[in-house]
């Protein structure tokens, strides 16, 4: 069942990449904060991996690594890198809705800048070799 629609699978893997990265970093941060100071020895760090939140975070970051690698097997780095920056916006919204953090006007402005930038890059074709004019 080969998937050949480049734009569709790029969107799918970009969403997977962003969500797994945000979820992975959030779970890892939550777990490390719950553990407190884990020390610097390798045994302490390995023991921290068995904390449920840290384990979930590492698992999600492994998913992110594979999704990111798959994306780069067909899409440009100069496309993938900015488009997945929407993760900054997702993180801000997750903080707003799940943690009740306030979003200042400056941060809202940042959200607008990033969103416009992502849509601008997202409007180009993901693969420059096939559509050097941007594909529009």
């Amino acid at each position: 069942m080969p998937v050949t629609d480049v734009r569709r699978k790029t969107q799918l893997f970009a969403v997977l990449s962003v969500l797994s990265n945000v979820a992975g970093n959030s779970a890892l941060t939550h777990g490390m904060q719950a553990l407190g100071d884990v020390g610097n020895s390798p045994i302490d760090l390995i023991a921290a991996l068995f904390h449920p939140w840290v384990a979930l975070g590492v698992f999600m970051l492994v998913v992110w690594t594979f999704a990111h690698m798959a994306l780069l097997s067909w899409a440009d780095l100069s496309y993938v890198m900015p488009v997945t920056a929407i993760g900054y916006v997702v993180t801000a919204f997750a903080g707003r809705f799940f943690l009740g953090e306030t979003v200042s006007p400056t941060r809202w402005a940042g959200i607008v800048f990033i969103t416009v930038g992502v849509f601008l890059v997202g409007g180009t074709h993901p693969v420059s070799e096939k559509k050097p004019d941007g594909g529009q």
Partner: protein
């Protein structure tokens, strides 16, 4: 120490992303997502030296970022680590020979400004 970690984090991220892109491009497009085909692709990727270099660089990036946020606020660490967008775009254009048109340059510029604002 702070700026040394920034330099380490930024350079390892750039090396990691560029080598990951080179390695995956060398491997070829992944288009078959059945478990058997994915296992075969994974086995080939794990033996690709460019992907190995990328993974090592990403590990350095991950630990240097963790160390950076332990000694500096996130409002500093997040925007400063977004500096990677600039060298990566230049390398994508001139090393990876990607077609970086005005929309990509402008979009990356807007995202950089946005990352600085959102981290305040």
């Amino acid at each position: 120490m702070k700026w040394l970690l920034v330099a380490l984090c930024v350079s390892s991220t750039v090396i990691g992303d560029v080598f990951r892109s080179l390695g995956m491009r060398h491997h070829g497009e992944i288009s078959d997502f059945r478990p058997g085909a994915l296992g075969g692709a994974l086995s080939a990727i794990a033996r690709n030296w460019m992907v190995i270099v990328s993974t090592c660089a990403m590990a350095v990036s991950f630990f240097s970022f963790m160390k950076l946020v332990s000694i500096a606020p996130m409002s500093f660490a997040v925007p400063v680590s977004a500096i990677t967008f600039i060298p990566e775009t230049f390398l994508a254009r001139y090393l990876l020979k990607e077609a970086v048109d005005w929309r990509r340059w402008t979009g990356i510029g807007l995202i950089l400004v946005g990352v600085v604002l959102i981290s305040q």
